[in-house]
């Protein structure tokens, strides 16, 4: 069993897609995350 967008949601999403002012091709960039740092010995 698969899930899909309903016709209305598909139309709305297509509108978002067309109106989105995206100016460059997608390139997967790694997210910048907080890295816990172990306390340094004194």
């Amino acid at each position: 069993m698969k899930l899909s967008l309903t016709e209305q949601a598909e139309n709305d999403y297509t509108m978002v897609l067309q109106s989105a002012a995206i100016t460059r091709e997608p390139v997967k960039a790694p997210a910048v995350v907080l890295t816990p740092v172990a306390p340094q010995p004194k």
């Binding site: 899909s4 967008l5 897609l17 989105a20 002012a21 995206i22 100016t23 091709e25 997608p26 997210a31």
Partner: protein, 190 residues
């Protein structure tokens, strides 16, 4: 240039735009401490603070037509998650200036890079996503589900869950079920 920027990628590259949308949502989730349960309204407030470094809560209320208690909750949350700094104003200690910082700023920049670093275009994009949901207040998880199905077409529930953020399966499943109940998703036979 950027108002008609849809032309820059072009209609023939709708697939590329759809993929870009999924990545933009990922960057915004990362900017919000990796918390996909945040609403798009909270994301919009964060982007507004990034656009106006040193802004105040009153100014945000005016720009977004929000009531004070709702905005208070969002600001508190953003501060607790380390997304924003609160700095007392040098001339008036009762005024607190807000600004984005650290990983939040860097991840917002990654999202903004898709919009020529134009905050308004990013906010307009988020608002257009909000409009898909009608009266429901969408979370970033909801939007990611819609974006994945919009990009890749029909998918199994398992494939949808795998595209999300490694959160509790029950939460992800509930989000999918809610979208079915709201009339945004439908089941289809293979």
């Amino acid at each position: 240039m950027s108002n008609n920027a849809a032309d820059n990628i072009g209609i023939e590259n709708m697939d590329a735009k759809a993929e870009a949308i999924t990545l933009i949502i990922d960057h915004i989730v990362a900017a919000l401490g990796g918390e996909p349960s945040c609403t798009l309204r909270r994301a919009n407030i964060l982007i507004d603070i990034d656009e106006h470094p040193g802004t105040t809560q009153s100014e945000i209320m005016e720009r977004h037509d929000l009531n004070k208690s709702a905005l208070n909750r969002d600001i508190e949350w953003l501060y607790d998650y380390g997304c924003i700094l609160r700095t007392p104003n040098k001339e008036d200690n009762r005024t607190i200036n807000l600004s984005t910082c650290g990983y939040t700023k860097k991840n917002i920049d990654l999202a903004l890079s898709y919009f020529d670093y134009n905050h308004k275009n990013l906010q307009n994009f988020l608002n257009s996503l909000i409009n898909i949901f009608g009266s429901h207040k969408p979370t970033l998880r909801d939007v990611k589900i819609i974006a994945v199905l919009g990009h890749k077409g029909p998918a199994t529930r398992q494939a949808i869950l795998e595209s999300l953020y490694n959160g509790p399966t029950t939460t992800d499943n509930r989000a999918v079920n809610n979208l079915i109940n709201f009339g945004l998703l439908q089941k289809q036979s293979d």
